[in-house]
């Protein structure tokens, strides 16, 4: 019997996948949006809120606004458990679209997956979108035409952190001789900012200390003992997952005040501070994705999605949580990029090349932000073919023991200083891979 069930399962799956012929793109009136997600596995608690935000916004676009200029979004989820292996499989499965609906972009939802797919995306002409993550040097669109570390790359994260410290100290000249410790998750993500901080340390004359925390970071006494010996003026916390609350609690035990610790993007959600209890009070974090449900878009969603029971959120108390807002912002970036592409190619579903054009000409100014209800929640952003980041700013939010409070306006990263570093790395990649950088001015 079990054999029969298994055989039937396998046979049915082969039938469903192999027999669906790839139809011509021109027929469909829909835009296919595949989403690799992780509702299962170690990161599920953040993922669940993230996809809720993304799905709610797409649903809002489809059902309230009637699609992106009339083009409905056909969203499909694929479980990956945050494993790049699974994401690669999903990418291969969806890259040709579905039932004639083309793919205009692919959210990788994870830096390792972005790395794994970067060459496949370039070969298949599918833009890979990884907001506030991704491969830093792929900011240089002349070498990486199909990779987008959108909004806030790792170098900008370092730079905004330093700029905020300078602001608190009363100017960049005050940074001289200050001790700034970076405690980081020892992984690709944790290490990505090192080059940037080193450069800024040279420029402003502060002392740069880098202290790694091995994954998962359940025990950090040795690291924080080291931090205490240094007697830092500021601590930049670049941890992820469970290592963040542990860091905040351990720091308190070693007498390092929470308001001297600045967390980065991925150490700045509710899940990072609530487990740390009172130790987190006063802790600050970079917020390209601020928390809170008081923005205009939240009112619209509450009226049309949340109160009508269409929300993907299981528990509505998470409405406006940092991870939910991450989902919203990523979704609106995608939708606005589609609009930009449609302005050139017509109001129809876009393919990967047209999607790339859309992202490369994505401009959202304050006026537009107000129109779409994201003013204050999303920074003004402008991408060009050479600049695939486009934003590079974050606000700072502070945990008051109960909720995140935004304490600054947008702080811009020092992108001019860091751009040569990005270009040097991109050039090295181009040389290694025999890529001739395109010249965007020659295209239109």
């Amino acid at each position: 019997m079990k054999r029969l069930v298994l055989t039937a399962l396998l046979a049915a799956s082969v039938a469903t996948t192999a027999l669906v012929p790839p139809a011509a793109f021109a027929d469909s009136k829909e835009q296919y949006v595949p989403l690799p997600t992780y509702r299962v596995g170690p990161y599920a608690s953040s993922g669940t809120l993230w996809w809720a935000g993304t799905l709610d916004y797409f649903r809002y676009i489809n059902e309230v606004e009637g699609g992106v200029n009339g083009v409905k979004l056909k969203v499909e989820e694929f479980e990956t458990e945050w494993s790049p292996d699974r994401t690669v499989e999903v990418y291969e499965r969806v890259k040709n679209g579905k039932d004639g609906a083309p793919v205009a972009f692919f959210f990788t939802h994870g830096t390792p997956a972005s790395y794994a797919l970067i060459e496949k995306g370039a070969a298949d002409k599918i833009p890979l979108i990884d907001p506030a993550g991704g491969r830093t040097e792929s900011t240089d669109g002349t070498v990486f035409p199909y990779a987008f570390p959108l909004l806030f790359n790792y170098f900008s994260q370092a730079s905004v952190g330093i700029n905020y410290i300078a602001q608190k100290e009363g100017g960049f000249d005050k940074l001289k001789g200050k001790k700034i410790v970076t405690v980081y998750h020892d992984s690709a993500y944790g290490r990505e900012t090192q080059a940037a901080v080193e450069l800024l340390a040279k420029k402003y004359g502060f002392e740069n200390f880098q202290i790694p925390v091995a994954d998962p970071g359940n025990e950090q006494s040795p690291q924080w003992r080291q931090v205490r010996e240094i007697k830092p003026d500021w601590v930049f916390l670049r941890t992820w997952g469970v290592s963040t609350p542990v860091a905040i609690k351990t720091a308190q035990r070693f007498g390092i005040p929470a308001d001297r610790i600045i967390g980065d993007v991925w150490a700045g959600s509710e899940a990072d501070v609530i487990p740390a209890g009172t130790a987190a009070k006063g802790y600050q974090a970079l917020a390209p994705y601020p928390g809170g449900a008081g923005f205009e878009i939240h009112d619209r969603l509450r009226k049309t999605i949340l109160d009508t029971g269409k929300s993907d959120l299981r528990d509505t108390k998470f409405f406006g949580a940092v991870y939910y807002n991450i989902g919203l912002i990523n979704a609106v970036l995608a939708v606005e990029a589609l609009r930009a592409g449609q302005a050139k190619f017509g109001n129809k579903p876009l393919n990967g090349e047209e999607g790339r054009w859309g992202f490369e000409h994505l401009t959202i100014d304050d006026a537009r932000l107000k129109e779409i209800g994201f003013y204050g929640l999303l920074q003004p952003i402008k991408l060009t073919p050479a600049d695939h980041e486009g934003g590079g700013a974050a606000r700072i939010q502070q945990w008051d023991g109960d909720k995140w409070v935004l304490v600054t306006d947008w702080i811009q990263a020092d992108r001019d200083t860091l751009r040569p570093l990005v270009e040097a790395k991109a050039a090295a990649y181009a040389k290694e891979h025999n890529i001739t950088p395109r010249s965007p001015t020659a295209e239109n």
Binding site: S13, P84, R93, S187, K425
Partner: protein, 350 residues
Amino acid sequence: MSHVLSQTARLAPTVLPERRFGLRLPLLLLLAFVAVPLLGSDYWLGAILVPFLVLSLAGLGLNLLTGYAGQTSLGSGGFMAVGAFATFGFVVHGGVPLPLAVLFAGLVTAGAGLLFGLPSDRIKGFYLMVSSLAAQFFFEWLFQKFPWFYNYGSSGTITLPRLEAFGYDIGTAVGRYYVTLTVVVLLTWIAVNLVRSQTGRSWMAVRDMDTAAAVIGIRVYRSKVLAFAVSSFYLGVAGALWAFLYLGSASVQSFGISRSFQILFIIIIGGMGSIAGNFIGAAFISLLPLAIDHLAQAFFAGHVDAGLLQNIQKALFGVLIIGFLIKEPDGLARLFRTLGERLSSWPLRF
């Protein structure tokens, strides 16, 4: 675990099975080399069959060690990492062409395996498994700690510039499939012969009772260490293929402890001490979740809460594993063989 091991132990063949492939093997190869690339799409070749073949190869590596030589190991992921990083090192630092680099990387991994096989002289079973766990964590640490291994990249990820073998571009799905298939067929053929050779028989003798093996003049320690080396060679090659032919790039996270468990499950489910079992086990581990996922997407998407659906899939997968192991503790290979035997004797009985 030990229960499963002892079950297998009783299966040591007293008489070697006859070669009863007949026409089946050539047919299978014809299917794999000609029919599949003609019929399969890029998705099937690149995203399903390549990982399936690589996992089969990794399973084969571990099976030589655990299923044939009776030495337990949880370091498979670590050895795969050695293979991947060594290949990268030979190509980037040494300028060695890819096929040769993979071979060298296999040898380097064999050396590493030999080193971590040394404790098998004194410790056995679960204790040995723990020492192999040390290999797993050591290599994860090593390839993260020293930037030389990933050529000083900022993120610790390794990527090969261009996939080329003997002047041909093998970057396409078909190319990657053929290379993987050729390597796997070749290494499987070697493995089949190896386990029938004196070496293989010594391994099985050591597995079944090492004292008895020593009494009849088998050099037990040498056999064990050799098993570690050969097994690691296979795992190293599998790691290189996984990193560069399937994923395209890799970091230590691709070869974590969960990879080691995955490979262990492949041989437990497929069948220890069986060559075909690796392929069946790999198919089960890598294809079944996809099949369930495809089915779920086709029938339930949009009707059932997505998170719930994912968890149901997980549960279903677990239930199937438990079910199969209760029905046949010796693995699917055994199940299929029994089925085949039943089918071949007329009248059919179920």
